[in-house]
Symmetry: C2
């Protein structure tokens, strides 16, 4: 069975941050992987963090969804000092293009198949 990459989130409402980003094609790692891991570790320690889901394909295009109890938790994470430094490096070095959206989850459902 594949290890789960899914976040376990509560009944809505809660919030998500959708971060879509393009890494330059064929770019070196440049400390990116370590930074990304560190950011997930830091985010998970923040009050109001509910979970994260992330996928990046071979072309360098990726989407990360992080889930939060409320907008105040998202603002606190935005203002976290180490996150702010990483974000600036992202803007100038790691991402060719990114789009960030903050949204209120209104409803949700899912399904996991049992291993046969």
């Amino acid at each position: 069975m594949t290890a789960s990459r899914f976040a376990t989130t509560p009944k809505p409402p809660y919030y998500l941050v959708a971060f879509a980003s393009q890494r330059p094609a064929g770019s070196p790692d440049d400390g990116y992987g370590a930074m990304a891991e560190r950011m997930v570790e830091l985010a998970a320690a923040q009050p109001g963090f509910l979970g994260v889901e992330s996928a990046r394909d071979a072309s360098g295009f990726g989407i990360t969804l992080s889930y939060w109890t409320d907008e105040a938790a998202i603002r606190a994470w935005r203002d976290h000092a180490e996150h702010t430094v990483a974000r600036e490096t992202g803007r100038t070095s790691w991402y060719e293009h990114f789009e960030l959206r903050v949204a209120r989850v209104e409803r949700a459902y899912g399904k996991a198949r049992r291993a046969g």
Copy 2:
């Protein structure tokens, strides 16, 4: 320059559907790729469709974000006959696990670097 994988969305508020899914590891295509392309083509022809962004990594874990003007547009897409058939096949065959969330986008920003 990499072809853009980003959706061009209006000023919030608007809605997104976040669909996270796990394809079974090492599974054959099984018509999946053609179905996924057809669904994007159909969705794009729906009233209220604003755009789509999608990434799936080598492990088969993927996230698709589709953007819509309002919840009525999302419901109409949900009830579209061909989409309903594809969704049922997804539930029973293509996805090991999926989670779908409907959310109202409250704010958004992004940045694209100029080719240098």
